[in-house]
Symmetry: D2
Subunit: 397 residues, 4 copies
């Protein structure tokens, strides 16, 4: 049994449980665990389905466990794909909202960027493309994760060819990548910034490997110095990369903080474009992972744990080798160790397990210590939350 | 630790679980279980709170476990009663809906009638009383459970004095109480009806013990014969009890199917009334249970299991003896054995455990084999549920 | 699955466990527990078997669990009764040892007196009977447990008719039964002794119900006063019961401390005797338990928990009603509450579960809070145990 | 908590368990597991202790768990090393037995060659050395495991310098290493033998790395052909290695089947000798493992899993880096994959975890899928075991 129950609660005590205790009428005892809802394969399926019929087919193809002779057992074997589809038939319709400035936005679906592909629903994207000239999709986590998965999983599934990639950078984050301590980041430090830009350079070179032109959006923070912003713009120019400062937050939603960036994007989008995927589906799963790890993360290679090696053999035997790969890696580093910043070299990525998501249509590769049920902070936020006498919330910020 | 997680899912494999496995960062291993949401003490509290401040106080008084020296530990000891209140601050506002005939109805809160007191929120009742001349509250399960708990728990908490009690009866159910098989109930059988009315008589005598006049609402089913309905009306008259046939379903929501019953209730409500509780709070918990069991169920007495006897001593030591009692008993029988129908005599009620609900403000007495996490049918309804090609639901009825 | 693993270690953390975790190659997950070896049905079988063939048959008849449709499954269904017999084929031969005075003694088998019948092997008893004129068997715990089980289980199985019963009493224990605190027992107190003898009287009357003459052996402790010993002898005389002081420990193994008692026993054994069992096997299990509880313990009656009632129905359905009953009750009191001393009246025995031991050939009735895996003291004896530099043990006494 | 209970029973359902369930009086719930007795660190300690005082010291140094702040907690912290020593004070005395031919042999202690160092007690070895001119110690599993651990752990602990190493080889095993199927091994096949000898060559070269002369004992099986035995002797001669056929089983214990081998060993032992350990203790644990893996197994290198990397850091922090390493690897292959035979090249050893055995005084490196609680065959041997009517065992062979 490989499919876990999900809850929208970060309750780490439910990561590993034994259920079905208490006798024959209480179910069959087994080891189990809970994930958070956004880590469920159903969320990933929901965001990759092209319509209700495709949703139904994908739900039926979920492998939720294995028989005693290790053959995969699917939701369709249970015959409940119809009931699952029924539960989701309203949810699959995209939500149209608007920004403070009145720009339309579709907020629809949220597959965990760690364990899944990390961008909104394909139906929302296709709907938006029929309604607008230019559609921007947010892809979760760093460009090594979000952009790669968008290109190799979502764009491939939908038959989309992106026309440009906006890589969001901040002076603060680049200084941290350059080694500055987190509580020092408001201090002007051009040396730290210079030490951090190799991280940005690797992301930009990665984007170009997909045949798409990158644009750097320098997301301005209130305490960023003009000197640092200028330095970064100059660095981008020297690298031959488009860049613009975006001050959407500072100048207000209805203001002109994003105008320069928007104009730049529009110009790039109108230009030539030769989108390609990083790897063909014909590669073995092992080679797909090696390609991503070497080309995008800059690793020397990949180590598979003993269970992961067994899983590779299972994948081959079950005919799942043609699926794309969905990497589950920390977003804090190009490596699988969250503490290694900058643009590290000479490292190996450790794949500890592989999770075939046959409904979503990809193979998740778990690297390092990534989790599918987050924990809570040491001091719970609940301790400062309350209502006042008038019934107003207290302690939410 | 006595407070369980809750889910709105009848998942019997979660009744008894072991959680917190997997090492020090995954929480502390312990035996636990899930209840359904409506079985949570928070639902009971929500339905007995008079306002937001009272809600906050009751949440803080929940005893969720015991220290190593067996002292109760409350939510207020954790300091999260404010956060819990914040989560419920919108939910506590009653919902106003209407029947097809346009009668206003407040649907608000649903404490499981098995494990809690089984009627809607006190705030909804008080709101209704300020908006209407006559307010009718549905009290879940048989009058031995629903009415008794309404009188001794909700009415006592709210300081209400009910003016009348409508006891709903059906020809079908009375024939079943008289020993008729379930698949025979559409057959006319005055003998079975006559054998079943002692069950109704006990309910009516019970209601009178609270000093309130009972009215029998004969809920008409399509296949009920006029002969049986007439016989039952005549029996009620002979017993000296008000009765009327209600055909609300048959004659439509906007029709006159309930007019006669409504007129009868209005007349009784206008009459004299001497409401009293069944027992004073000063009685020991043991004696409160004995009073309910003998006066309302007609039992000879009560047996406490060894754990229940220990729990009685705990209740005494912790100063909780003054709380009312909330019986958890099958709704199918006056006894704790669902198969004993009619008006049985010569039986004992088995109390297997006592659960102090110090936030809600009552002591639950678990009798027989009552459960707080129901199971599912042998053939899941999901197997016939689906959507058709047009996206319409299939198999829901 | 009702048959537990056993260990010769009082490890309370193993009383309730979940096993078979870790994946398909690690067995099937299930709830389980460990008992101590002497609580195993195999120990009881070992002590009731008449020879190797009978042992093999009884091992095969062990019901170790139930199928999904609740039919009993036996060791013979597994086909491993031969292998189990093989493991025990040497162990079944009795051990002959001798006392310091050279009296031969057979020490062979130890079924836990709590959960089983509490006396040595039938083979040892039969061997001794062929070797000696008079054979004395120790029957564990109080005469309400040890003697009753010897008479109704072992003597019935073996076709034995005991000729006399020696009831061991001490001045200390009788004073404690009379209400004296444990740390005061060395103080002379005839009033306490007088308050305690009703306990002894009930044991003596019980023995007579089996048609056998009781003899009181007053086991002398070093600090017992002659005044108390004399008072107790006089009381026995007044009750018309044989009694003698035994000072075996005080006057040494080879001495004459037991001569008077031995002579008395020899005289009684030579006299008339009309042994009978307390109940016939034809009584229902419920009535057998009621008979023991009322006749031997002096209880008003017996309460069966809801699970115990279900088990009674199972026993009936599976054709096990003809088996004798083996009571599991605290040895500290005639009641199932260890703190009620003396000869209490007006109490009920609570049967919380019934364990069919179809191999041993009896039904265990678990009362009160009796356990099958004891715990350890708060301060482990291990803390003071060691070896000295010469390799000699330290801290064993 | 890292120290498991042990049992002398191959009960795989006990490999991973949850214990301490059932409430506060049944211990504290936690995840646990059972090992077989020979896999316990206490067995390893027992076999490395020089005397009772050293045994006591080592038992006290066992790290059985970690505090919440990850500091090691030892048996001495509990204060029970004395009690443990007391339990073992008789067991530590070696057993003297004899072969059928009357040769004295000390059989004493059996640390599992997988998880521990796999040879008998140091006290037995030292006793034998005081009693005889030449002492032979059996070292469990292949020479890559048994010999390496004897040299680097036992010989180092005892300060011994072995004078020769007898490598046992069989025609059958070498043909299997050469790729022959198991059920074909009785067939004469010089090609298979030739294909298999590179495996033997690597073992012989490994022995020479310790500065000790190897001698091949060709253990003759009944069906071995003279042609194969001659070929193997000739190959050994060509390799410049001493070899002799041993036919101890065939010619009887009292016969002369081992004379030639014995004479050869005596000659080598009398010759020059320059014993050295494979690695100095000053190397880091990581480097010790790398040395063994590259020098002895012929691997390219070693991969540490993410948990193993954390454990390496713990070992460093706790000051255990100076301990020797005890490899836990399959005995069927130089690699950690039991199916790779011969003398494979181009492989990596996967260390999945490290277990500090601070009492025994080594760090166990778990590679591949090695287990510490074996399972049982698919068809239990118990099914054919029984006793016959005369009480004789049946089905033991």
């Amino acid at each position: 049994m490989t499919f876990k129950r999900v809850l929208d609660m970060n309750d780490r005590a439910l990561r590993e449980v034994v259920i079905g205790l208490g006798g024959p009428s209480q179910g069959v005892p087994r080891q189990d665990g809970f994930d958070i809802t956004v880590a469920s394969e159903i969320m990933a399926i929901f965001c990759l389905a092209s319509d209700l019929a495709d949703l139904r087919g994908r739900l039926g193809r979920i492998t939720f466990g294995y028989s005693y002779d290790r053959a995969p057992v699917t939701v369709a074997d249970l015959g409940v794909q119809g009931a699952l589809t029924l539960l989701l038939k309203e949810a699959i319709k995209p939500n149209l909202v608007q920004t403070i400035a009145g720009t339309p936005a579709l907020v629809h679906g949220g597959p965990f960027a760690n364990i899944a592909h990390g961008c909104n629903s394909l139906i929302a994207t296709q709907t938006a493309r029929r309604l607008a000239d230019i559609v921007v999709t947010e892809a979760g986590f760093g460009a090594d994760l979000g952009a790669e998965k968008f290109m190799d999983i979502k764009a491939r599934t939908a038959g989309l060819a992106p026309s440009a990639v906006v890589v969001v950078a901040t002076v603060r984050a680049l200084k941290m990548q350059g080694g500055m301590a987190k509580d020092q980041l408001t201090r002007l430090d051009l040396a730290a910034l210079e030490a951090g830009v190799p991280n940005l350079r690797r992301h930009l070179r990665n984007v170009e490997k997909f045949g798409v032109t990158p644009i750097v959006a320098i997301n301005k923070f209130g305490l960023d110095s003009q000197e640092e912003l200028d330095w970064l713009l100059a660095w981008c120019a020297a690298e031959g990369v488009h860049a613009a400062v975006a001050d959407v937050w500072g100048r207000g939603g209805g203001g002109d903080g994003g105008d320069e960036l928007a104009a730049l994007v529009a110009r790039v989008v109108a230009g030539p474009n030769s989108f390609r995927h990083l790897y063909p589906l014909e590669l073995s799963v092992e080679d797909k992972i090696r390609t991503i790890v070497q080309e995008i993360y800059g690793a020397d290679g990949v180590d598979f744990s003993v269970p992961a090696l067994k899983r590779l053999a299972d994948i081959e035997r079950n005919g799942w080798s043609g699926l794309p790969v969905c990497m589950a890696k920390t977003q804090y580093s190009f490596t699988d160790d969250a503490s290694r910043l900058g643009a590290p070299k000479g490292f190996t990525i450790h794949v500890r397990d592989l999770l075939p998501k046959t409904g979503a249509g990809f193979i998740v590769a778990l690297t390092g210590a990534v989790m599918t049920m987050p924990g809570l902070p040491a001091v719970p936020a609940a301790l400062r939350m309350d209502v006042d006498d008038a019934g107003n919330p207290v302690g939410l910020t």
